[in-house]
């Protein structure tokens, strides 16, 4: 590991992508993630790569489709309303099995909403924001250091499975500065991209990248192939952190920056004799169902804390399948749940 430096989350995203071998970035500015593009604009020429501020988010995502079809490591980034615009091309890229990384530094919605931190895009990210039966891997970092590590991983996962991989952060994570240590050498998964459309040189049959299958039998077969791949990803790539869960009175489910707040709550609650556990999904899809099953009968109740009206809580309920009561606490609009209100909720549940 190198020297620890103080860096902004958004800049770390771009630096991590460059270290992971990403040489093509297409995006369109939007608060609170514009520094990602700033950093690429400054650095990409040094690497001989491509930086394009596209004419729109839609164009940017279609450029990602093009570069990924040619086998390049490529990414785009945006924030909630911009990610909505990309959905058509995301669905196309999912059908065409294109490996690419999409970063969503979520801001409060719906609509143009506000520019402060939120987790209101959980459904959009994990349940298919675009049309059709597709999934993408969704990684939710909770610190700037983890943001770096997960961006590198995202490129490897994308190439390993020929899949889309999303980094879902929030405005807080994008804007904050924290210490980060980069490793001297990134582990890069070298994929055989024999499928890419790079020109045949008249030496082989042509490859084809497409998202249209008019014949229903062929399209169903293609869907079954995608589903098998999603099962494989679920088996191999599900990631979760558990903290303080054994013998806990209550287990909180939280991801991203909210999980950091819960770690403070755990310390404060301990002083009152309440043992609070934390299950922090790192992959929001695939969701760490097995971890919830494992702890289902440990606490008196579960509590999902989110910066949303209650989205991940549905997956917590599905995972526990009625084995334990599940409560919810959420803030919206860019408001952050405070330690105090979380602790009050915990006391009320355990009363």
């Amino acid at each position: 590991m190198g020297e620890k430096i103080l860096m902004k989350g958004n800049e770390v995203i771009a630096e991590a992508a460059l270290r992971a071998g990403c040489r093509h970035y297409f995006g369109y500015p939007i608060t609170p993630q514009t520094e990602v593009a700033h950093y690429f604009a400054k650095k990409m020429p040094e690497y001989g790569g491509t930086f394009i501020q596209a004419e729109s988010e839609i164009a940017a995502m279609n450029m990602v489709y093009g570069a990924a079809s040619a086998g390049a490591r490529v990414m785009t980034s945006s924030s909630s309303p911009g990610i909505s615009l990309k959905q058509e091309a995301i669905s196309y890229a999912a059908c065409a099995e294109l490996p690419a990384v999409i970063v969503n530094i979520v801001r409060a919605g719906p609509g143009l909403g506000g520019i402060l931190a939120s987790q209101c895009d959980y459904f959009q990210s994990t349940k298919g924001g675009g049309h059709g039966d597709y999934r993408m891997v969704v990684l939710a970092p909770s610190s700037v250091q983890e943001l770096y590590e997960l961006v590198v991983d995202a490129f490897n996962i994308a190439d390993r499975y020929r899949t889309l991989c999303m980094i879902m952060g929030d405005g807080m994570l994008g804007q904050m500065m924290e210490g980060v240590e980069f490793s001297d050498q990134e582990e890069i998964f070298k994929a055989d991209k024999g499928w890419a459309v790079t020109g045949t040189g008249m030496t082989r049959e042509n490859n084809m990248i497409t998202s249209i299958y008019i014949d229903p039998e062929i399209l169903e077969k293609h869907n079954l192939k995608l589903q098998a791949k999603y099962r494989e990803i679920t088996e191999n790539e599900t990631r979760v952190e558990t903290y303080n869960c054994d013998g806990a009175d209550i287990i909180v489910a939280a991801y991203g920056t909210v999980a950091r707040i819960i770690k403070n709550v755990i310390k404060t609650a301990e002083k009152e004799g309440i043992k609070v556990g934390l299950i922090r999904p790192i992959t929001l899809w695939p969701f760490p169902t097995a971890t919830f099953e494992k702890y289902a009968e440990v606490p008196k109740a579960f509590l999902s804390v989110e910066m949303s009206a209650g989205q991940m809580v549905e997956d917590v309920r599905l995972s526990l399948n009625g084995k334990s009561p599940v409560h919810f606490l959420g803030r919206m609009g860019g408001m952050i749940p405070t330690q105090k209100e979380i602790l009050e909720k915990i006391r009320e549940i355990l009363k």
């Binding site: 103080l6 520019i115 804007q175 920056t257 950091r260 819960i262 770690k263 709550v265 952050i336």
Partner: protein, 177 residues
């Protein structure tokens, strides 16, 4: 020192973000946990630029502060807005060259430093934030002066490193004020 929650606030151009970044860098070099969060939302309107900095012995939870143990207010709107954020017993540092009212609360420790005047006497108005920072680290022990110097080397581009001896002089004046 377990955890110090600091709100830096003032006009844009007073080096508010720079002061926050500097103490965060210094704390990190001193092997503490740190976070720096600039204001980027609607709170930027209305005459204040602010940032939240946490320096802690333990890993940091939320980088957003709902209350603070230290507030550094470099103009009147900052004092009006953030005096109430202080926890009882907290430390309020005011640039008394620019703020034309006295703090109201009696349950906090108040330090009024004519930082802009001191910086002006030193011949560089841009040092006002460093004078304030000197008092801040002296009263809180958040980081040592030695690490502020190391932090300056990281935060300032090389072509500005010639300023560091003068910055350190301003820091010392603040510490001893």
């Amino acid at each position: 020192m377990a955890q110090i929650d600091i709100i830096f606030s003032g006009f844009g151009g007073q080096g508010i973000q720079a002061a926050g970044k500097l103490i965060a860098y210094a704390g990190m070099l001193e092997n503490k946990h740190v976070s720096f969060l600039p204001s980027y939302g609607p709170e930027m309107r209305g005459g204040t630029s602010n940032c939240h900095v946490i320096v802690s012995d333990d890993p940091i939870g939320s980088p957003i502060l709902n209350s603070a143990t230290v507030v550094m207010a470099m103009n009147r709107p900052s004092l009006d807005k953030f005096e109430k954020y202080l926890e009882p017993g907290g430390i309020l540092l005011v640039d008394s060259s620019l703020v034309n009212r006295r703090p109201e609360r009696k349950d906090i420790r108040v330090f009024e430093i004519p930082a802009t005047q001191i910086a002006s006497d030193l011949g560089n108005l841009a040092f006002a934030n460093i004078v304030m920072l000197g008092k801040l680290i002296h009263e809180t022990g958040a980081v040592s002066a030695e690490y502020i110097e190391k932090g300056l080397k990281k935060v300032l581009p090389e072509r500005k490193h010639y300023l560091i001896p003068d910055e350190m002089k301003a820091l010392k004046i603040g510490m001893e004020y």
